[in-house]
């Protein structure tokens, strides 16, 4: 159905236009945007934690030469949890490009940062047993504030 496809393409384009022009989330894209950003946050955070989980159980040989680098890459690529983590990070990227087409950048950058950094820290605390000190939480909050300002300052452009 080429006609149908053209039409939905046009609708997506007009939504992206409206989002970038007004800097707000267009009402008709709200549901789609929220689903996309939830996928971004969850897959990004779970992907990061799985990456670390897979790497913890892998013996990466010390890298002293190019051939050792190849051996390390092969041993890393053979870890199932790590591969799942990489797939989730790709999912995160695809969902992010989708979200950027339905909502403003100034909203997307801070939401992505907040959901991925905070959720990753919480998951790492509970599932990997990592200690997150109050200094580290403070640093994450400072970074989030910075990312929010950068996001707001890029409001007008795409």
């Amino acid at each position: 159905m080429p006609g149908n496809r053209d039409q939905s393409e046009r609708v997506l384009e007009s939504i992206a236009d409206e989002a970038n022009r007004t800097g707000r989330l267009p009402r008709r894209a709200r549901k789609r945007y929220m689903i996309a950003m939830t996928v971004v946050g969850v897959s990004g955070a779970v992907g990061n934690v799985l990456l670390k989980y897979g790497l913890r159980n892998t013996n990466v040989p010390p890298i002293e030469s190019i051939s050792a680098l190849v051996a390390a890459a092969v041993s890393v690529a053979a870890t199932p949890w790590l591969n799942l983590g990489v797939i989730l990070l790709v999912v995160q990227f695809v969902a992010l490009t989708y979200a950027l087409r339905s909502g403003p950048l100034s909203l997307t950058v801070p939401i992505r940062g907040a959901s991925i950094y905070v959720l990753t820290a919480l998951l790492a605390q509970y599932f990997l047993g990592e200690q997150v000190t109050s200094e580290r939480w403070g640093a994450i909050m400072l970074i989030l504030a910075g990312m929010t300002m950068i996001g707001i300052s890029s409001g007008g452009e795409s």
Binding site: Y117, E135, L142
Partner: protein
């Protein structure tokens, strides 16, 4: 030490890779599909290869960008192997510092004071992460 170098390489190659991919993708041009028998004609691998050869999808900037992003991912994995996730993942936000610098000094884009303030906050946050890394 090795870890610090790995993280710095990851941050710089991520910012530079994004820059080259963005620049390169703006310059992609493809030949008209009609001369290849329409979109379905591309199902033929030989025609697809010819189509890709005539398009500028392998523009050098894109190739450099993809290579840099591969370097980024490799060093990110190495850093994750040695350091806690809660240190490496927030540290990657310093790519914003480098992309702002690239925007200002290479692309000569206007950078608002709000953006500089955001960059300063991220710099404070990442310094705090490094100072209290244990």
């Amino acid at each position: 030490m090795l870890l610090a170098i790995g993280i710095i390489i990851a941050i710089i190659s991520s910012a530079a890779g994004d820059f080259f991919v963005k620049q390169g993708s703006a310059e992609i041009e493809a030949p008209p599909l009609e001369s290849f028998g329409g979109a379905l004609g591309l199902l033929n691998p030989r025609r697809l290869l010819e189509f890709l050869r005539q398009s500028t999808i392998f523009h050098w900037k894109l190739r450099v960008g993809i290579a840099l992003l591969a370097i980024y991912f490799g060093s990110f994995i190495l850093a994750m192997h040695r350091a806690p996730v809660t240190l490496v993942v927030p540290l990657m936000s310093s790519t914003h510092i480098f992309s702002t610098l690239i925007g200002k000094y290479i692309l000569h884009e206007p950078v608002t004071w709000l953006r500089w303030a955001g960059v300063a906050l991220i710099a404070c946050g990442t310094s705090l992460l490094v100072l209290f890394r244990e």
